[in-house]
Point group: C2
Chain length 322, copies 2
């Protein structure tokens, strides 16, 4: 698998350097870490931290900025950053009002954030954690993974923190957002890790993998490739029963890395046509990828007035501006 890179073992560092080199007026890298933060912090604002393994770009460093994250921690590809890295992010993000860490539901990430929380508390920094688990491809809610819905939670939580809300208020909003956002993915091709020459799983030319995770994990089901309209139906049928009925929706159509924008927009068209609900916002693009995987995830978020307000609030990050 050909990739645009130099040393595969060094790809995360080169990525972070490139991001900061291209956006130096906005972003900085904490020395000696793989933590990207805002260049300037807002005093007394609750700090919002997120992070996890790399390979999901633009998540999470692309979402650092006003109205969203204060700091993002990048692990090696598909590998949780260590507790010390999360701690460095928490220390940087703490401006006297405490820190909320938004973490996708993977054992390694959750464990390392918990350790970082304890280390922060020992230094007198209050750090709370909210776990995001939007992937309905997994039946057991305890085991549900965090996938693309994560970025909507980050967006709304970050906007609310920007208003000066307290840590307990910000945590309450993040938990509400988590409870109302659900996603599911389909892969048309597997992904290939930079340091490995083999794809993460094999998929025949006429097959697709339904319910895959964002780390090249196998899905819940493998079947013949379907049309965009059929895939839209399939994902809607899994997601719709899992979100509050009647509420207006935000829709996120997320490309997994190598699916063209033309295809994503065709898929969005099918979702909108089949979704007999009030759709207030539709986002289409690459928000949470899985390296070079071809495929798509669909996220539905059941809005209320408070969530809608923070979803549409101004945001200034490398990836998300409005």
């Amino acid at each position: 698998m050909k990739k645009l890179m130099n040393d595969p073992e060094n790809i995360v560092t080169a990525f972070l350097d490139g991001l900061v080199a291209a956006n130096g007026e906005r972003l900085q890298r904490l020395e000696g870490t793989d933590v990207i933060t805002r260049r300037s912090f807002k005093p007394q604002k609750v700090g919002i931290v997120s992070g996890g393994g790399s390979g999901h770009e633009p998540a999470h460093a692309g979402y650092v900025g006003e109205g969203m994250l204060d700091a993002a921690v990048a692990g090696e590809v598909f590998t949780s950053p260590g507790a010390d890295q999360f701690l460095a992010a928490i220390q940087a993000a703490d401006q006297g009002a405490g820190v909320l860490v938004l973490v996708k539901n993977y054992n390694g990430d959750v464990m390392n954030v918990e350790m970082a929380q304890e280390m922060a508390e020992a230094e007198g920094i209050t750090a709370e954690m909210v776990i995001i688990n939007d992937d309905v491809a997994v039946d057991d809610p305890e085991q549900r993974r965090g996938i693309a819905g994560t970025v909507l939670v980050q967006k709304m939580t970050g906007a609310f923190a920007e208003t000066g809300a307290s840590l307990s208020e910000v945590k309450r909003l993040a938990e509400k957002a988590v409870s109302r956002v659900r996603s599911m993915s389909v892969a048309l091709t597997p992904c290939t890790l930079p340091a490995v020459d083999q794809p993460s799983f094999d998929l025949a030319e006429e097959e697709m993998e339904v319910g895959i995770g964002i780390h090249g994990e196998r899905g819940m089901d493998r079947r013949e490739v379907a049309s965009s309209a059929e895939i839209a139906r399939l994902l809607l049928d899994h997601i719709l029963p899992e979100i509050p009925q009647g509420a207006p929706l935000a829709v996120l159509v997320n490309g997994m890395g190598s699916t063209s924008l033309m295809e994503l927009q065709v898929f969005a068209n099918d979702v909108i046509e089949q979704l007999d609900r009030d759709i207030q916002h539709t986002f289409v693009g690459e928000y949470m990828t899985s390296l070079d995987m071809a495929g798509v995830s669909l996220t539905l978020l059941a809005l209320d007035d408070e969530l809608a307000e923070h979803l549409q609030a101004p945001v200034k990050t490398v990836q998300w501006k409005q």
Copy 2:
């Protein structure tokens, strides 16, 4: 080649429908055409129109909005729209101050715009044309293709038009921008058309194609795959002699469709490290794609004060917001 689509013959229509369905507050489709326009126009502003074959998303419809294009015309995949479609866009964009059509340098596009110009003149609408030819992979300047540099020309021209400048002034700025922007591309894989099951050319696992166009055209040279740093050097060596020396630069690192953001940012890092010039802006992402091609193009724009002002002016489109 698996794609997320329904009927391949209908993919452009489905794409345009999806774009409008997801952005109805901002965009509309002119009935009976493949023209996307702003929902509301600014009276007495010079209209800015662009367009060409599809397959380069988000170009051009993703750039319709305040501070950039008034209307974009979408042809079938890699096929120029007809003169009647360009005419419809010109008619819609004309708000009494004339229209400038920005067209990439391909025979079909230029011919159809010329015909549309004549038809518009017959209706009393003044329509001027500026041809964009930023691709230095072709030696003969007359034959140089328009590739990713196009979007920078659209951005600056659109911003200037928004200030109320006259048609002749806007045309002057567009021509200056064209004279100062140069690009070149490398493909790691070919692209595959939606209605065709074969890639546009064959490329062995260890090969890359240097100087490809955005329509799956063969390049000027085929060689062994190089590192990101080596590709940066190669493209810089071709582009730098072609732009004014000494001026501050804007850099655009553009993904061809299926190259991950992580890789694009690694490449941007290599470009910035090797470019011993004053870099005022760096843009990294998918701006002008070639379906599902893997690869990258590099664009350098030599700024002056006027161009810099319009490059950083506010813009509100689906794809480009600042």
